[in-house]
């Protein structure tokens, strides 16, 4: 009898449960079906169309790396990476402010991209082969050529990393910096203890208390950190050695060529503009330039071989005036760099145009 009674109770309870879950089941099956349909139709619909339809770009970024992306008290994202989010939005949507900046932790940035939480990741991410291969992501044009460096206190007396034997080096967890530091110590035959911390705040505490001799991170990031030191930027020194290649590039999901090309050309437009000396201030004067290549680039009309006025549509799925919008609303590469990175004391260095001996080179727009 007891069994039966319990049975009845349980049946009653599960009927309720079943009612709930079957509801869930219904929605989930429809969701799953919708998902399957999505998966099936993915070859046809690109993220490009989705973003245009949505009218807003979801751009993966961060909230606290001076120079690259900082969340201000007013809730704006300011920085080099944030501006490249705006560049993409200006190119695709014609509005640099149509961006939803999504703050991501270092550890979950790839997952956010993979799951479609963001359309593009512009979050100073190093392009490596295994990330390209196993994170399901495609890296695009490099926006910043970086390298891992080392910061020490000014009174430590280290002139280069080769002096640093038997020291403790602190790094942020979940990045390539741990591996690079370990490899570099091996290569130089130095005895380093590499301690990874959860975030820069913790490293700051440990570094300030003298638990770490060196703070290793990308040179650009270190420059930002140095500017923020409690005892002033002169209390620390960034050593001249750079011991890894860290090309930082935006990335999109694998297998969506149309979207990848659109984002890529938006970024390349900033470089092309700098090559021609087009800035946000003078872009309007170039609209009637004598150089038809510039007019093509800006989406201004030009005379084709038959003498007709026309504009160039490269077939990228972008508006013909996308480059004009990018430059007018955000600026060229040099402007973006000068706005956010130069104030930190960063030099153009390898990030100069190829014409100035740097690595920035855009394929021709024609």
């Amino acid at each position: 009898m007891k069994l039966r009674k319990l049975l009845v109770v349980l049946t009653a309870l599960t009927l309720v449960l079943a009612a709930c879950t079957s509801d869930d089941g219904d929605t989930t099956t429809t969701a799953a079906a919708a998902d399957a349909a999505d998966a099936g139709g993915e070859e046809m619909t690109s993220l490009l169309d989705e973003v245009i339809a949505r009218g807003e770009l979801k751009c993966g970024t961060r909230d606290a790396l001076t120079g690259f992306a900082v969340l201000t008290e007013e809730g704006d994202h300011v920085g080099f990476d944030s501006d490249f989010c705006r560049v993409i939005a200006a190119a695709v949507l014609g509005d640099a402010e149509a961006v939803d900046h999504v703050d991501l932790e270092t550890a979950d940035r790839f997952t956010a991209l993979q799951s479609g939480q963001v359309d593009v990741l512009s979050r100073n991410t190093t392009w490596t082969a295994s990330r390209d291969g196993s994170e399901g992501a495609t890296f695009l044009t490099v926006t910043y050529y970086d390298g891992q460096g080392m910061m020490v206190t000014a009174d430590s007396g280290y002139a280069g990393i080769a002096d640093m034997d038997g020291v403790i080096v602190c790094v942020a967890k979940g990045t390539t910096t741990e591996g690079n530091a370990a490899a570099e110590a091996d290569r130089l035959g130095l005895d380093w203890e590499v301690r990874p911390f959860d975030d820069n705040d913790l490293i700051q505490e440990a570094f300030g208390a003298g638990q770490c001799d060196g703070w290793s991170a990308d040179s650009s990031a270190l420059t930002g950190i140095r500017a923020d030191q409690p005892d002033g930027p002169d209390s620390v020194v960034i050593l001249p050695d750079v011991f890894s290649k860290e090309p930082l590039a935006p990335l999109v999901l694998d297998g969506d060529t149309a979207w990848a090309q659109a984002v890529n050309w938006a970024i390349l437009a900033t470089i092309t503009a700098e090559e021609w000396g087009i800035t946000s201030a003078n872009v309007d004067t170039f609209l009637d330039s004598d150089d038809s290549n510039i007019r093509k680039f800006l989406g201004a009309s030009f005379e084709d071989s038959d003498g007709n006025e026309t504009t160039l549509d490269a077939g990228l799925g972008l508006p013909t005036d996308f480059a004009y919008q990018v430059i007018k609303q955000v600026g060229n590469y040099g402007e973006i760099f000068d706005r956010h990175l130069a104030p930190l004391g960063l030099e153009r260095g390898v990030n100069a145009l190829w014409t100035d001996g740097g690595l920035l080179y855009s394929p021709p727009y024609r």
Partner: protein, 411 residues
């Protein structure tokens, strides 16, 4: 040799009995006494003289509600006032029912005694509230607390009137529904003002702990019944779930939820970090609630069930009317304990998911340009610890009081 004093206990005798009974006692008293005095003086100096508390007062809003938009703060105020009214109503109804049944503990007390009883029980919370209010520089929080207090008092008075009456059953049922709906409504009302994803600061800790415990209860109840069931498959599944979850650290579950949830549900459903935390809290706590409820079910004497059966109640009614009410009443203190534990564990979500909860905010504000590099982490941690401590301590004392009142363990 110690001699037993036969004179009337005087201060001196008290000292001798309690502090210097044996030589060992004397040493302990002196060592620990001076240690306590030293720590006490250092503590007092820290709180009143050396502590640099401006970092707290400057960042009070960030610590309490994170980056909640200033013009939406009214939503919190409205919800709090309603919740004050709600809590007052419940307290009033319970007190009224006790008066009706003649089991009221406060009826024989004078007003003064009642006030001092309340002061003893909630004085710490009131003092903390006043402290927090004294740190604010706007009138909004004062008004909010004042209206919440007024709401509570009004609710208590109305509730007392409702409680002493015996109402027709449909009215009381309706009442129960209303009482359940009110906090849910308050929650949804706040969520409609500012999406759940942006709930930060102490608000996150409190609200997500509450949501976690409430949501985990149905699942925990089902798991407990499942574990007690004679149906082997059901029992096996319940045990597997309960034991696996109890063997896993909450922190690792949160980390896993952080990186993996989007793979298991469609992207459209992939929830915000706050929802993720609440879901993890719910699934985690359910296993513990299940064990608590199981204990409660075991504590109901078999005779109760047999008596119910003898009255000719159907099995559903036996469980619903006789067994479950007693079982659940007995486990209320243990559930409060679980709530306290979850309340403290919500800090893990800050570390694992990067939510700007109270503890995370306490760390973040020490990096502000005005406060950087001054070792203010001690001050902020003391403040955060104090808030959590007041909450947990008051709740655990109330739960002990309830335990004594219910006589759990004595029958």
């Amino acid at each position: 040799m110690t001699t037993v004093s036969v004179t009337k206990p005087s201060a001196l005798t008290w000292v001798r009995r309690n502090l210097f009974r044996t030589p060992l006692d004397a040493i302990l008293t002196i060592v620990f006494g001076s240690l306590a005095v030293y720590v006490g003086i250092r503590g007092l100096l820290f709180v009143f003289v050396n502590g640099r508390w401006e970092i707290i007062s400057v960042n009070l809003k960030l610590l309490m509600v994170g980056r909640w938009p200033a013009d939406e703060l009214i939503a919190i105020a409205v919800a709090l006032v309603i919740l004050g009214l709600w809590a007052g109503l419940i307290a009033g109804i319970i007190a009224g029912r006790q008066v009706r049944k003649g089991t009221s503990a406060i009826e024989g007390m004078t007003r003064l005694e009642r006030a001092s009883d309340l002061g003893r029980r909630f004085g710490l919370v009131i003092a903390t509230l006043l402290l927090l209010l004294s740190l604010t520089d706007t009138s909004g929080p004062w008004l909010m607390v004042l209206f919440t207090f007024v709401g509570g008092v009004v609710g208590r008075l109305i509730g007392g009137q409702i409680g002493v009456r015996s109402l027709p059953s449909w009215v009381s049922r309706l009442g129960i529904v209303v009482m359940v709906v009110i906090p849910v409504w308050a929650y949804l009302y706040m969520a409609s003002a500012v999406p759940l994803a942006d709930w930060e600061g102490f608000l996150f800790n409190l609200s997500s702990a509450a949501a976690g415990v409430v949501l985990s209860f149905p699942l925990g109840l089902l798991l407990a019944l499942g574990r007690r069931s004679k149906l082997k498959l059901l029992k096996g599944m319940s045990i597997a779930y309960i034991e696996a979850v109890r063997g896993a650290p909450l922190y690792v579950l949160l980390l896993l939820a952080n990186v993996s949830l989007e793979f298991f549900v469609p992207a459209a459903l992939a929830p915000s970090k706050v929802v993720r935390a609440i879901v993890t809290f719910t699934l985690f706590t359910a296993a513990y609630i299940a064990e608590i409820v199981r204990g409660g079910l075991q504590s109901v004497p078999l005779g109760q069930e047999e008596a119910a059966k003898a009255l000719g109640l159907s099995p559903t009614k036996q469980m619903r009317l006789i067994v479950l009410p007693q079982a659940l009443r007995n486990v209320i203190p243990a559930q409060i304990g679980q709530f306290i534990s979850l309340f403290k564990d919500t800090t893990l979500a800050g570390l694992a998911l990067g939510i700007l909860d109270l503890l995370n905010a306490a760390g973040a504000i020490t990096q502000q340009s005005d406060f950087r590099g001054q070792g203010l982490i001690i001050e902020t941690l003391v403040f955060v610890g104090f808030l959590f401590w007041v909450g947990s301590f008051t709740m655990s004392r109330e739960s002990q009081r309830l335990e004594r009142k219910l006589g759990v363990g004595t029958r």
